[in-house]
Amino acid sequence: MKSDMPRLASIAIVVVAGVSVALLPVLAERPPAGPISPIDYQAYTSRALREHFPNVPLVTQDKKTVRFYDDLIKGKVLIIQFMFTNCEQFCLTVTPNLVRVQTELQKRGARGVTMISITVDPVHDTPGVLKEYASKFHVQPGWQFLTGQKSDIDQIRRGLGVYDPDDKKIEHMNVLTIGKESSGQWLAIEGLAKPDDIVQTVLSLTANSARPDQMGSRLANH
């Protein structure tokens, strides 16, 4: 109760300010057909999903330490792959598939799509090994390869629902997690899906729902 008091006071001020500044114009321009206002839901969902992204430290192929949520997820549209360099099954084909996706995204001018590949075999896959792996596949900037503590990586996999204790390495290995953090929209798709299909999926996510053009003008009008 005690901590509630100043909050209520500040809310009252906001409301008073809001009424005097904004209520009349807002009511006057309220569209008759129900406005599109996804911002609140997206913000809420994005906040609610944060527990799925443990902010654990990971190390990039360039030996830079980054935080999973703060540096890799927050505010990003991204494709997340789990792999390991000794993988002789899916990863051997998924990684080249993702290279085609990256090329296609660049060709279509899709900026701001991040790709991250996290090893599930961090003992073997040191930053140096990952760097060599990335260069072998001619990976372009905008795609990071990450290693870290095994327990931290497992925690990330559990958060993203791509962890199966019965089959730690192979299970879900070829499932890509694709999402947009700010809107809380996340989906999973097979890593061997046609590059075109993956690209379409990512592009519809970048085009979908944020609609910054519209929302920007709406906000500006207020």
Binding site: R7, L8, I11, A12, V14, V15, A17, G18, V19, A22, V26, R30, A33, G34, P35, I36, S37, P38, I39, D40, Y41, A43, Y44, R47, A48, L49, H52, F90, G159, L160, G161, V162, I170, E171, H172, M173, N174, V175, T177, G179, G184, Q185, W186, L187, A188, I189, E190, L192, A193, K194, D196, D197, Q200, T201, S204, N208, S209, R211, Q214, L219
Partner: protein, 532 residues
Amino acid sequence: MLNRRDLIKLGLYGGTAGMLHLTRLDSGVLAWALDEVNRNSGSEWKPLAAVTPFTQALPLPPVIQPVNPSQLPGVQIIPGATYYEVRMREGTAQLLPGMPTYIWGYQGTYLGPTFDARIGETTVVRQHNDLGVTTIVHHHGGHTPGISDGAALQSQRVQPGSFKDYIYPNDDDICATHWYHDHDLDFTGHNVFMGLQGCFLLHDAVEDELNLPGGPGDPAQQGKMPFDLPLVLQDRIFDFNNQLSYNPFGHDGCIGDHFLVNGAIQPSVRVANRKYRLRFLNGSNARFYQPSLSNGMPFHMIGSDGGLFSKAADAKSFLIGPAERYEAIVDFSKLKVGAHVYLNNCMAQTNGRAPDGLSSFCTNAHPGLDGIGSLLRFDVVESLRDPSTFTPGQTLRPDLPNFSSRPVDVTRHWLFERSNGAWQINGQFYDPNRIDARVKLNTTEVWVLQNGGGGWFHPVHIHRNQFQILDRNGQAPGPLEGGLKDVFVLGAGDTVSVITYYNGNAQVGNYVMHCHNVEHEDMRMMMRWTVS
């Protein structure tokens, strides 16, 4: 002094983002909720306010009223068609005590309005997308042209701020309990979880003649519940702010711990001591139910997904998988006024893999994650004359189409299995750009649906047609699977053969078949097929 709740009611809550929220009550709810999340982050887990079961009245989604096509600029004019206008939009619903729940709904209500149409009556629906996400509207069960079917294809998407006119010829074989729901590519699970579902009922003359409860000869009294009730079963999860809590990373299937019928948690319904027609629709993402009545009364089962059976059959309980429909007559006439009967779920299920099994004791007012307990209470409150007619075991539809008497043109095999980290059909994930079967008009096909194992259940849904089950694991179908169906529960190791005749010159184009555990569907356990 005003608290936040009062401010919300007045539409005056500012929230963290300030002025924007003054525009809408709905946005105010989320601002309030976001504030609560920020305030509570790091603090101890807080329980949800509990619903006192059976205190809310069973909601009845309103029947949508037609509009004049002149109100729909540019709409295609079809002689004799009935026109409707629907807005998919945000709204709030008082699902739990305290803070309202933010939802997405057709017309902004948690369960959309019910469509009522006659066989042969064309329905045109203009669906506006006022949401911030793309949507696709699927008429589930309908014999619909591909362009209006609402399959998960990029080309079928209704973009935010845009609309689409769906044209349903409703030239199905017989009357049925269909429904409509979202079918967006990759996001169906989230969209339907938020409330994008509704009933679509088809009627015909044969049904009228039967004089079943709630038919044209048995109208409801003014202001009272009708004698023909849809019962949409859903399970949901809420966060501690009473908001729907969908986990997009829960790929095995979303299992809830709160149980709704027609959009209210464990409601009660006032009935007379007479016969009722109940239309069960499993609108859950991944949960199976086994409904039974607490006093041991039977369900007189009269129909499944695609309409009435040829003959009624009694059942003490029945399995209903995601997206399945079953219709039953329940007769309260032997009960005294003042009696209570509980609709119980006896099937336990705690994850999306499969139901855990039947419970013999299922009268539990507080079902938990396993789902065992009472979903709805019938309160017998009055005596009423019953002009409807029904005799257990009676003949209903001697006119059911008999596809199995036709020569088979093509047989196709479909294997549903867990593979490569998710679930595939014939070793492939869904690619909206790939066609896996091309069906020719006016041919008869048998599709053999096989569960590849691993203990997973898959309720398989095929668009466009109703089907007859030829056999389940080599055995003739039981009485509840002898009618027309569009969802087939593939239990662990099951093989089900289904047959249909692909008629209808308008019904050409793209369709899909998929698992209706919608999380499996979103993981692309789906295939595209065409009719030409």
